[in-house]
Subunit: 162 residues, 3 copies
């Protein structure tokens, strides 16, 4: 599939609806909430390779501090490792807390989703600080095995960017 | 309908249950969680008029800092605009983060709901501060088109009020 | 039933699946999210006895600051009362904000669940502080009346512990 022209305006050309029974809105919403929870736990526990597999192979990730958008599982894993090294040097634990999940279905296998993320860092023996408040603007697609969801396109907007 | 005698003790007289199939608990809970997420996103993005439409025309809003409870969409929009002007002068971005949603069904078209809201403000280029921790004690009613929920009565309690 | 050998590795021996229809994943997930919301509201409102009843009679609670794991409703209530006395002396309001709920079903009446909890304290007239960022690693069991869930085993891990 051709990569989207831009990480914020992906093309859905070629996506066909699954023939399976349509899951209820509640079912999809529960799945997406659990997806965000698990994805953030993987990242914060340093399971970087598993975390990268929550993105599609051709996924775009557009971060507020990065000069260009990243594409692909290796690139997003690389960014996560750089951040982890920085945290390790500072002896900080990081926590991405997903909140305020909103889901807008596109078709049986695709949703647009939004998630507010509070990023906390805690020094050993210290108190948590809120380092960032960010919004993930995502396009999520159902994984090929039907068992979960993957990020196809993520735009991260920081409240600090004004 | 006669307005409720008090914003914290609304009368349900005259509300009749919808004849439609009763949605599952999970369905209603997903709808209410999404309602809170969307309502807070609208407020924080400055879509004040759309945000005001998430209240019924006769809704009560009782805020911790206001001397009296507000009634009606114009009144609540006015309060939101005053707050927004204040934030703009301070060059701050505001974020209402809804958490810990609890829903207690009253009838097919009415729920009592509670939501913990963390209010963060972020200066451009700065770090987020938690300005308030508040609880919304709400009566929500299903919108006439059946597609969503509206606030009929909201009591906001701040943890700072002691 | 024999108490679990360790609070982090409970035995499921003797638990038999309920013969009732299996609730949907969305239904269970909604129930667990509401369970966490209600449990935290009870604790923060000082309804300590009701809060203790959200644990099974033989439940284990392993807290980061406690030298040993607590067992039973009286023990966990005692710990909550000690903390409440401390908060009252400091004129602080406490708020446990549950986020990022993840549920892994074990059988019809048992789930492993994880929940990120931000613990905020607010001085009267002051601003909220994040005192702790913690993760609850729980085994939850369906209550005998089928109406809700109970903590059978809770390990609380603080981000400050490094």
């Amino acid at each position: 599939m051709t990569p989207p022209a831009s990480p914020t305006a992906p093309s859905f050309t070629g996506i066909t609806a699954a023939p399976a029974p349509v899951p209820s809105q509640a079912q999809v919403y529960a799945e997406i909430q659990q997806f965000y929870a698990q994805q953030m736990y993987l990242l914060d526990e340093g399971a970087t390779d598993k975390w990268a597999l929550t993105f599609t192979p051709d996924a775009w990730l557009d971060l507020p501090m990065a000069p260009v958008a990243l594409q692909g599982q290796d690139s997003v894993a690389g960014a996560a490792r750089l951040r982890r090294d920085e945290l390790d040097r500072e002896d900080r634990r990081q926590r991405h807390v997903p909140c305020a999940v909103f889901v807008d279905p596109v078709d049986a296998g695709t949703v647009r989703a939004r998630c507010q993320v509070l990023v906390l860092t805690t020094l050993r023996g210290g108190r948590p600080d809120i380092a960032f408040s960010m919004t993930c603007e995502d396009v999520l697609v159902r994984a090929a095995d039907g068992a979960g969801w993957l990020v196809k396109d993520r735009l991260v907007v920081s409240d600090s960017s004004g």
